[in-house]
Symmetry: C2
Amino acid sequence: METLNLYNTLSRKKEVFEPIYPPNVGMYVCGPTVYGDPHLGHARPAITFDLVFRYLKFLKYKVRYVRNITDVGHLENDADEGEDKIAKKARLEQLEPMEIAQFYTDRYHKFMDALNVQRPGIEPRASGHIPEQIETIQKILDAGYAYESNGSVYFDVLKYNQDQHYGKLSGRVLDELLATTRDNLDGQHEKRNTPDFALWKKASPEHIMRWKSPWSVGFPGWHIECTAMGCKYLGDTFDIHGGGMDLLFPHHESEIAQACIANKVEPTKYWMHNNMITINGQKMGKSLGNFITLEQFFTGSHESLEKAYSPMTIRFFVLQAHYRSTLDFSNEALQSAEKGLKRLQEAKKTLQTLTHRDDASIALNPEIAKLPDNCRIAMNDDFNSPIVIANLFEAVRIINIAQDQKIQLSNADLDVLKTLFDVYYTEILGLSDESEHNNSDLVDGLMQMILDIRQQAKINKDYATSDRIRDALTALNIVVKDGKDGATWSV
Amino acid sequence: METLNLYNTLSRKKEVFEPIYPPNVGMYVCGPTVYGDPHLGHARPAITFDLVFRYLKFLKYKVRYVRNITDVGHLENDADEGEDKIAKKARLEQLEPMEIAQFYTDRYHKFMDALNVQRPGIEPRASGHIPEQIETIQKILDAGYAYESNGSVYFDVLKYNQDQHYGKLSGRVLDELLATTRDNLDGQHEKRNTPDFALWKKASPEHIMRWKSPWSVGFPGWHIECTAMGCKYLGDTFDIHGGGMDLLFPHHESEIAQACIANKVEPTKYWMHNNMITINGQKMGKSLGNFITLEQFFTGSHESLEKAYSPMTIRFFVLQAHYRSTLDFSNEALQSAEKGLKRLQEAKKTLQTLTHRDDASIALNPEIAKLPDNCRIAMNDDFNSPIVIANLFEAVRIINIAQDQKIQLSNADLDVLKTLFDVYYTEILGLSDESEHNNSDLVDGLMQMILDIRQQAKINKDYATSDRIRDALTALNIVVKDGKDGATWSV
């Protein structure tokens, strides 16, 4: 029970988690590309690795959590204008990719905060680590596993595969990759072989984000940023590398290849991947009309949504499935999650009002006693959040029976239940009570009701009630002013 | 009235604001050094230039607002351990400056959000722009206005002053600077002359943040980041450069010198500086025991604070003084600001409840009619927020008289007042009603009161009241459950 086991994509089995430098844990997770609004595809890995981060901290590990921001965008100037004309434009009149990247970075943070996803310890931007990437590329070139072609630099996959195994993470077979010829696509004519990937790309005239390098004015290939930044902040080999399953190939496969050449060691001890989401059984895609942003979920402003779903509903829904299962979003499933979450929230509130019974047995109720162990075993079994949630629902059942006075709970029983909610519901699953926020309408409505009752009491000469209201409002620091248009109030 | 005038520190007079590429405006403001918790010295420039940013947008300018994050820290490894021992330590076990920088960047954002300071369009990190800084330094070296010394590079202030004027912004006199000899301090022995400043510093063995450069493994000098990043995102010459008056010298003076050599043009058309803050008449300083962080202000957890002051109280207090005046924080002054803000908030609420009188004159009340003009004139006169606030208080006076039915307001009068609050209170001054947030205690208190009244009504067999409460709660989506331990509720 005390050992954390996690599924390592690299070995394709569950392994005991043994960090390289305990009690330190280094974790790198692939973050967002900040050229679009955050959507479900961002929410699932963020929540998955937030669960991992929270649980590792609960286990008293000292976690250095790095999640990158991919801001080396592929924005282009309007080619119609011609390069000369663009060069003559004042900088201020030109599109500035960093302005777009900053906008979507801020949006990403806003929505991840709403989902109660904790911020990583370091959030490095790809554009902010150009020297480190150039240095890593140079190491690969020096080792002879990359070649320059027309100002761009490519990783030589075939040469790498001679003494190492390109495909060991993703299970892809190189011969099959070789058979796929995609001429004229993505610098294909510059490559020696189809599976080779870019480490550095020479910028075309209209490409806006560009830096000097020994090879050309250009920009880094996609895979190199994670190798350079992971190594910079976590060392040549670190404990956990996470991301969505869509990143297995070519991104993570290529990261391994880059690191094994540049640093001469495997970059990561445990590779973790969350499975994909679908919407009504279909892959989410802009062309399918089922591309729903988080803002649309939170506000209900997408035609395929029957209503708005709160951030906590989304979070709870994601955690109700194990991270390695696929997850299908539908109105039905979300509404069921919403109801389930509400039951948990209400039971948590009820728990605060339950009083222990002096006539209860001093021994712990065995049904309650096993719940924390069940949760711990589930988390230690590859972060099995659905089983944790099932055990919380078992606690709900017991709380509701106790509320109906059908069983008697001792002080110790209540303590175990409260700790269970504090630890698993709040700390590890990261669920929170949303009604804490933005309830000004509710306050206005309640105050209106109270002022009406007070008014009615005065009319009825029921001074006991109106005095009680006055005193209770004073205790809440609320001042009521009577005017000719009626009473107004302020805190 | 339609022309914006602002005080240009460079010319020492108010000038008509004429952007270089209208309707675009480029604005660069010196942001925080993220190695400490945000305090009042961060709040004032952030709020000042937030006012400028908001007003420029209100005037329909297209503002590109850049505010940097200085994260090239001066953290050192523990020298006692010796360089060898440190080199052998695993990366994960070492102090990582970026983790500290990220922590304080997140804290800065959190507190600036609380102060309702809008995020800038681009927030570049100094550590993320090393190539740009190296390139700028190289340009200055190539032009002959810098020299290398022992792996570090210094700007040659005396040579620069031969054909340009070092001191034109700050009014410092070079001869006086030369007379100040500070031997052995800050690489003094490497400099040709005392006023020379570092463009690049060779890193000592224990210095953690370090990058390769043509001169040494080291780190950029403080002033060069703003020159490199301002130019990158806003062009060689941009409209507004802002910051606190403490940055006038040497920071901004040196920025001008660097840009005039590297880019051969003045970097900035209008230099704006907010004045300093004091606490009870004294400069704020850690040694004086009056160093108060924003968190301490918001929670009241500093021995010299009589109570907590809300973020909006701090914001309002800052805006009550003109940005070029000094500003003294004291409990008395803050409590007075708190009361003033409350009067504004209450009047704004009252305004929503006022109804127009059909017997009111159709012509606008002249006392109301002049208020928007007064506010606009004040803002156009170098962002004179205290005069805007004085006019809002004049509106409060009128609203309160109208509430007491002593004057009659037409629909047009009410519209002008509402627009005045929308535009100046909310949009430009950026004040907001804090009670909108975190009022769950209030909701709990009000609900307890309502349930008590309902309970009492049932005991009194006053079914009219208990039914009215039931219906009103249903309308607010509140469900009450009666249990043996009393009633509980949920939304």
